[in-house]
Amino acid sequence: MTNFLSDGVSAGDIVLAGIKAVIAFVICLVATMLMVWFERKVVSRLQNRIGPNVTGPFGLLQTLADGIKLFFKEDIIPSRSDRFVFQLAPYLSLVPAFLTFAIIPIAGDFSPGNDGTVTLPGGQVTGFQVADVPAGILFFLAMSSLGIYGIMLAGWSSGSKYPLLGSVRATAQAISYEAALGLSLASVILVSGTLSTSGIVQAQAEGGFFGMNMIVTGFVPFFVFIVAGTAELNRPPFDLVEAEQELVGGFHTEYSSIRFAMFFLAEFMNTVTMGAIIVTLFMGGPSAWFGLYFLGWFGGFVWFFAKLLLFLFMFVWFRATLPRLRYDQLMDLGWKLLIPISLGWLLVLGGIRVAQNGDIGLFESNTADVIFVLAVSLAIMAIGATLLQKAITNSAQERLASRGLRSVPTQQDLAASTTEQDGGH
């Protein structure tokens, strides 16, 4: 057992792992702090306000000030709560948020001939990520599922009505969109041929700007991923979890002081990480566009954060622009549109890849094979679109009926009532 554990692990490796972990924590926390500031500032500007501008230059230290204040606030554990789970939930929420960050390559030189790693003076070869997990994508999916436990248990253990409703909603929403999230990721895996995040970045770097998975996978998985990712983060317009007009604060209604801060931190950390995942999987991560490589690994760092900023701004923009969805709309969008579309698109992409390889197929010619696959894929996507259409019409009619209003009569109804009047009365 001792041999198994110590085999090939030198003191240098351990020091390196420690340094990488500390740097990752610092980047994670600073990025989250700045994200909170960024969101408040941008939303303010979009709403014609100024936003935080007193604490530090441009109000940059506002988040820090808020955090320090929360340290000094009394912590209240409600009398009817399940004390153990109530205290455990912040850990379950924040630890997966940190862990997802571990697999993201945040810097590195991915120019032709380089694989994003550097050789340190001690002789170790390392990439700019805490751990290059071979099944990075699966790890990301696992962590985003684990984060749900924090929210679910926080709401349940509060022993209160609003948090319980919020957490049940959160769970149903997260699992609905997780399916779409995973299926859109399958397209990325298909074109990259690997599950490791650094491998996916490398596969994209080879193709330059037009090698980005966003373009190679044909945009559809990219949009599905953005919508499903926003829903997974419980951010507006999918923030039914903490819809403050209905549920007070959602799952964290009963949390106060530093425990509340942990949930808040986890939420914004997840936003930053989700943006980073989108950059890694669809935009080429730290690899440069148009061959504009500079300054070795540091250039990758600059590229990565430039791309990340784009998506963080997009998330904030969503919040400032879009109204919240109703619950039935949320479920319809996930199950009846996003899942069928990503399934269909996966088959389209698979068909195209196989045809490119010139494989011998079912029919005489490759063209016929591809047409067959395209037909099946389009059929699946059409089923999805029809389902959504039906669902929207049905729910609109039911809503009108439940208010005691008659639905808008169709041409047929009008024709039928006219004949009725002519014949009977």
Binding site: G8, A131, L138, S158, A186, T194, G350, N357, L387
Partner: protein, 121 residues
């Protein structure tokens, strides 16, 4: 130790450090914050009035059905991921198999819809 396991060991250490960090935040706060609970303060929040009825209420059965559907699609993802990594090797044979697999799943989704499970009215 193999490289494969070493990366996961790094993740485990990182996770442990994250756990300690969160614990440190909470521990530090518990040292410096005031603690003066009172009966009214630790009562559950219900828009300012005294809470009514039991707090451990039941929730809708349809949430459970969505959970079942989710299991179906998540298991499917487990099958699709390895296929997607090795599509080049399987070629057209693999593709046809996946078309059949996904078609059956699409049938399942259509069935769920036909039964009115997906309707959230």
């Amino acid at each position: 130790m193999s490289d494969f396991l070493r990366e996961y060991l790094l993740v485990a250490i990182f996770g442990l450090m994250a756990f300690v960090l969160v614990g440190a935040f909470l521990g530090l706060a518990s040292l410096i914050r005031p603690d003066r609970p009172s009966a009214g303060k630790i009562e559950n929040y219900e828009s300012g009035v005294d809470p009514i009825g039991s707090m451990w209420s039941q929730s809708q059965i349809r949430y459970y059905i969505f959970a079942l559907l989710f299991v179906m699609f998540d298991v499917e993802a487990v099958f699709i991921f390895p296929w997607a990594v090795r599509l080049e090797a399987f070629g057209f044979f693999g593709l046809v198999e996946m078309v059949i697999f996904i078609f059956i799943l699409a049938l399942g989704l259509a069935y769920a819809w036909r039964k009115g499970v997906l309707r959230w009215a």
